[in-house]
Amino acid sequence: MIGLAVVGVLLLLWEIAGRAGRTGLFPPFTDALAALTDLLTWDSLRTDVLPSVGRALTGFALAVLFGTLIGVTLGWFRRLEPWIRPALEFLRAVPPPAVLPVAVLTLGATGATRIAVIAGGAVWPVLIAAHDATRTVEPGYLDVARVSGLRPAAILRRVVLPAVLPALLAGARIALGIALIMMVISEMIAATAGLGYVILQSQRMYAVDQMYAGILLLGTLGWLITALFTVVERRLLGWYRR
């Protein structure tokens, strides 16, 4: 309750500061809100907002899929670890935005490139988490599975995957944050549409209301997606917390 009151007070302060200031750089909250309704028209949703969200989610899904596949596979062959680990650590440490210009150059400024960059940046936390967790799956679980007569494929599906799930989801949560960052950045470079583009372009054209509206919308979307992730996580990990 008090928390919501604080939010109200902060918004009120924003409003007052916006009305008092004459620089035009900091519009009142209500102006930003009014501009938000423009962003929520069907046209703008179709050309900017939904494609952005779609790319972020597609990239994130690809990152989780490939991160899991590669990470679990590499972790399954434990002897590979000393050979590949340093290279993996380096690749993970490359800040994903640094790759963006060369990716655009090599692959072209297309939607697919942006999805690839989002996935390429977000894949590492998942991959590393899957690799670590698979390497260290409780050996007792594997013994039980072997004595029960399971074949390696069944052991992977019925024992390894559930065992690494908590670590995998922790990695995916970090990946989600990176996916959102990469979504915005990828739309600020060599782009003509998307939420990131709208925000940057608004600033360049001094449409400050619209810039803030874009950020508000992005924050709301980020909040929604994170909340959705938490719901999925709770469902999958019911056994883990109890």
């Binding site: 008090i2 340093p86 490359v94 800040p95 060369v102 960052i181 600033q203 400050v208 924050g219």
Partner: protein
């Protein structure tokens, strides 16, 4: 030694893909060209990125850990700030680049501010968790031994929360370098991101790859530093 072999395979794979024309040789330069293109500008750019990162992280450490201790100790402060932080946190900081340009400009201060904002959340959340998670038995023991108020916090709560704070610092440090380079890329603030974009625009492909490589080394050095310290 075996790790080096892993790197060698990676580089050979790159060269192989170029030779087979899977990677277009025009857009994907050879390893030797990339290494040869390193110059003083690249080193300067790396220094600028590092500076913005360090300033931002320091800023976030002071504010984030302070706030984290506050909301960790006081339920009231926690309740009061929670909805605000819950909304602010999922906003990708890079979305605020245009705002920061408008309000601050495009220099290192602006970069530091955004890096600081991005790093604020992991630091604040893990500090709050660490403070809250201190074993009540430790607090009780501290009380019994006569510590109270500030003494209790500095002598018992703080050391007990330190491992969690270190974890937050590690996350923040890695995130910080990502944000620093993103800001340079979009806003043109001095640093590696700007360097990479500029070289690419000028057709110096090998040099822009060298920039990517150096940012990787930087990111790797940062995560290695913060891992061994904790």
């Amino acid at each position: 030694m075996r790790g080096v072999t892993g790197f060698a395979v990676l580089l050979l794979g790159w060269e192989g893909l170029r030779m087979l024309r899977v990677l277009p040789p025009t857009a994907a330069p050879g390893v030797r060209d990339v290494v040869a293109s390193a110059d003083a500008g690249l080193v300067r750019a790396a220094g600028e990125t590092l500076l913005a990162w360090a300033l931002g992280l320091a800023l976030a450490a002071v504010i984030g850990i302070g706030l984290g201790v506050l909301v960790g100790l006081s339920r009231w402060a926690d309740d009061a700030t929670r909805p605000t932080t819950e909304f602010l946190r999922p906003i990708p900081v890079v979305a605020l680049i245009p705002v920061a340009i408008v309000l601050i400009g495009i220099d290192t201060r602006m970069q530091a501010a955004l890096v600081g904002l991005a790093c604020l959340w992991p630091l604040m959340i893990s500090t709050r968790f660490g403070v809250r998670d201190v074993d009540p038995l430790l607090i009780e023991s501290g009380r019994v031994l006569g510590a109270s108020g500030l003494r209790l916090v500095t002598r018992v709560t703080w050391p007990a929360a330190l491992p969690a704070i270190r974890t937050g610092l590690r996350t923040a440090a890695s995130l910080g370098i990502v944000v620093a380079i993103a800001v340079e890329l979009v806003a043109g603030s001095p640093g590696l991101g700007h360097y990479i974009a500029q070289q690419q625009a000028a057709g110096q492909i090998a040099a822009s790859y060298a920039g990517v490589l150096v940012s990787g080394v930087l990111g790797w050095a940062i995560s290695a530093t913060f891992r061994t310290r904790s």
